[in-house]
């Protein structure tokens, strides 16, 4: 009886074992090409409220925007007057005379640039308007709605 049980166990072990005679292996490489990029969100309007001949410098409000760049990718900002085709890298600041209300202002940026982290990073276009400017306005209050040079361009270089 004992001999019969032993033979059965050996047969079961053979049936469960690897029947391959041998093996060999090779390696392979996965090539990934990552093209770095930045995306630029819409820039909120830059707004000035100015009283003719006011003594103090007027600072603009608005101008916020966000940029999302590839992680570790450095980038810089540039500004360009007008809304023509962007010609990178742009300037750090631009000076403009609004052709509707005849007020001079300059635009800059809250930072020269940064390094991408894969997420949206917030910045802003800054604006200043010197004091003691008259401007042109035939009524109690005017806007530059009719200005043809009120649109400008923000450039992200990466």
């Amino acid at each position: 009886m004992k001999r019969i049980l032993t033979a059965t166990a050996i047969a079961a072990a053979l049936a469960a074992g690897n029947a391959q005679a041998g093996s060999t292996s090779g390696t392979f490489t996965v090539n990934v090409t990552l093209t770095s990029a930045c995306t630029l969100g819409a820039v909120t309007n830059v707004a000035f409220a100015y009283t003719s001949l006011q003594a103090a410098v007027a600072n603009a409000t608005g101008g916020g925007f966000s940029v999302s760049c590839t992680n570790s990718l450095p980038y810089t900002f540039g500004l360009q007057s007008g809304n023509g085709a962007a010609t990178p890298p742009g300037a750090a600041t631009i000076a403009v005379t609004d052709n509707a209300v005849n007020l001079n202002y300059s635009l800059g940026l809250s930072a020269a640039g940064g390094t991408g982290n894969g997420a949206a990073q917030a910045y802003s276009v800054t604006g200043t308007m010197a004091g003691s400017q008259s401007g042109t306005c035939a009524t109690a209050s005017c806007t530059n709605a009719a200005a043809t040079n009120k649109i400008h361009t923000l450039i992200v270089n990466y």
Binding site: N45, Y50, L154, N157
Partner: protein
């Protein structure tokens, strides 16, 4: 021999490449600058001309004191905006013979009162003009006012630029 001819060019080429932008790309967005300009006190927009050093500059006021001590002078005050200039006394300074409020002025050296009155009634007469001056000084030390004196006889000249 051929490579030697390029030798002077290579450093410049290398320098050019080194100075070239190394940006991989760029993206851009347009944005708008909105401006709202308000007149000081709701008045007219003007640019100060020559502010008196003794007087603080006031918004909306042009100053011209260069001829203020002379008689028989012609003073022209023009603001950059081309809008009207108020003529008034400098605060704290003597100011004689003031007219107030909107007015029509008449300048004449013609002693013929009939001619003066005719011109004064004609809003388009050459001796009359329309203005919104709030204050105006007519002052001539050589013809000080007195009983029987007719101010229109005084040789004054006022040039106001609108």
């Amino acid at each position: 021999m051929r490579s030697a001819s390029f030798a002077p060019v290579l450093p410049a080429l290398v320098a050019l490449l080194a100075g070239a932008p190394c940006w991989a790309g760029s993206t851009s967005e347009n944005f708008t600058v909105d401006i709202t300009i308000t007149q000081p006190g709701g008045g007219s927009a003007v640019t100060p001309g020559s502010p008196s050093p003794a007087q603080p500059s006031r918004p909306g006021v042009c100053y011209s004191r260069s001829l203020s001590e002379k008689t028989g002078a012609s003073v022209q005050v023009v603001c950059d905006s081309g809008q009207f200039v108020s003529i008034e006394a400098v605060p704290g300074q003597p100011f004689l013979g003031v007219h107030g409020g909107a007015f029509r002025y008449s300048m004449s050296i013609d002693r013929d009162r009939t001619a003066y009155e005719a011109a004064a009634k004609d809003p388009f007469g050459w001796r009359t003009g329309w203005g919104t001056v709030t204050m105006l000084r007519l002052y001539d030390v050589q013809h000080a006012g007195g009983p029987g004196d007719f101010w229109a006889d005084r040789p004054l000249e006022l040039l106001v630029s609108f």
